[in-house]
Amino acid sequence: MAHDHEAGKKLALKTILILGAITITEVLVALTGKGYIISGFHLAEAILAIIMIAMSAYKAYLIVFEFMHMRHEVKGLRFSVLLPMLLLVWAVIAFFSEGNHWLHNRDQIIQKNEQVPTVKTIKPVGD
């Protein structure tokens, strides 16, 4: 038991140090990629986004599996909590492509709004 305890302490320290290091890297990469650190140097937005999302996903993995102890939970708990999260993958794809669609429709919407509405006059009944 005493040995387990020492190992646990070490694991906590190791995890927090990795998380801190990833956070610093993320901010540095973001600021470099957006031209704040080396003047005139920019990274493509898509590359930046992929790097950020990958690093954040790794952070989330560390928090769930080490801090929240998911690694040592029984199988049933692990799968019943983690598998439903896969639904979000579709939600992200569907909503982001929808948002993109709105962007490209914007000009069309503005044009439609500017059109003078043609009102049909309907004869009242019994007139």
Partner: protein
């Protein structure tokens, strides 16, 4: 080893909460994708306490992230001391976690205060925007001044933003020149609306509207509402987490978990909640500040 009922239910609660937050963040993403003039995060969040107007992009939120990560670490240590049936250790580490939680809330309060009181952002007015065309700003005498390109990020200042509110110049920010009017009205270089927002005028030099004079519009309305709602909902989680931690800490001090001899499972459950708050922040930090 079986998972206890309490722990299992805590996990399921966190799963449902994860979907709530995912809904907000995905909604944010969809709206952001749909607007060409979404504000640039590192231009919006570039203030740090006691440094005045210095441009320090993302440094303060990074600090906030560290506060929350550190409190997650102290929480994990509290849970471990609980497994060891070490009451004193649990108390010490939980106290540190609560201090971390309060520090985070204090930072968030400062961030909100800056946005609301100094930059005049609200849930329905967003003074942060981006130009969608190339153009040239106009000077007070109507002549052409500084040029900018599409994508240029700006903050619409408010004449009330400075002490007294009258007769003072709005300071330059975002590389903008000062506008020297102090009353609402239509000036050659700016349109000041009734709420005191200074919409600088510019001449368009690209696209179908080239040659027209326009005044800088507000940024997407949804930005402020989403920001205050998402970070507010997360802050509310932190706040209730601090309350629960305090209650559990009082119970630990009173010694009722000693009698249960289950390795301080209550501390472990509140620990799960606390780590989850940290987990959500990882994603808020990602979508709101980094991307």
């Amino acid at each position: 080893m079986k998972a206890s009922y309490g722990k299992l239910m805590m996990w399921y609660f966190l799963l449902s909460d994860a979907f709530t937050f995912a809904g907000f963040l995905i909604g944010y993403g969809a709206l952001r994708f749909s607007m060409p003039n979404w504000p640039v995060p590192e231009k919006v969040f570039n203030k740090f306490p006691f440094t005045g107007e210095a441009n320090l992009p993302l440094i303060f939120v990074t600090f906030m992230t560290f506060v929350l990560l550190a409190s997650s670490f102290t929480m994990m240590r509290a849970v471990q001391e609980g497994h060891n049936e070490n009451r004193k250790g649990v108390i010490n580490w939980m106290l540190l976690t609560i201090i971390g939680g309060f520090t985070f809330l204090g930072c968030q309060a400062w961030e909100w205060t800056t946005l609301i009181a100094k930059e005049y952002t609200s849930i329905h007015v967003n003074p942060f925007g981006r130009m969608t065309e190339d153009g040239i700003f106009l000077n007070a005498d109507g002549s052409e001044g500084e040029a900018f390109e599409a994508g240029y990020s700006y903050l619409i200042h408010n004449i009330n933003a400075h002490a007294g509110g009258h007769g003072e110049e709005a300071t330059a920010d975002h590389g903008e020149a000062a506008v020297s009017h102090s009353h609402p009205g239509d000036y050659p270089d700016a349109l000041i609306d009734e709420d005191g927002y200074i919409h600088r005028k510019f001449k368009v030099t690209s696209g179908v509207d080239a040659g027209q004079v326009k005044s800088a519009p507000f940024g997407p309305k949804a930005f402020g509402a989403l920001f205050f709602f998402i970070t507010g909902f997360h802050g509310f989680h932190v706040f209730s987490g601090v309350l629960f931690l305090t209650i559990i800490l009082i119970n630990v001090i009173s010694g009722i978990y000693v009698a249960r001899k289950n390795g301080y499972e209550m501390v472990e459950k509140i620990g799960l909640y606390w780590h989850f708050v940290d987990l959500v922040w990882v994603f808020v930090f990602l979508v709101y500040y980094l991307l």
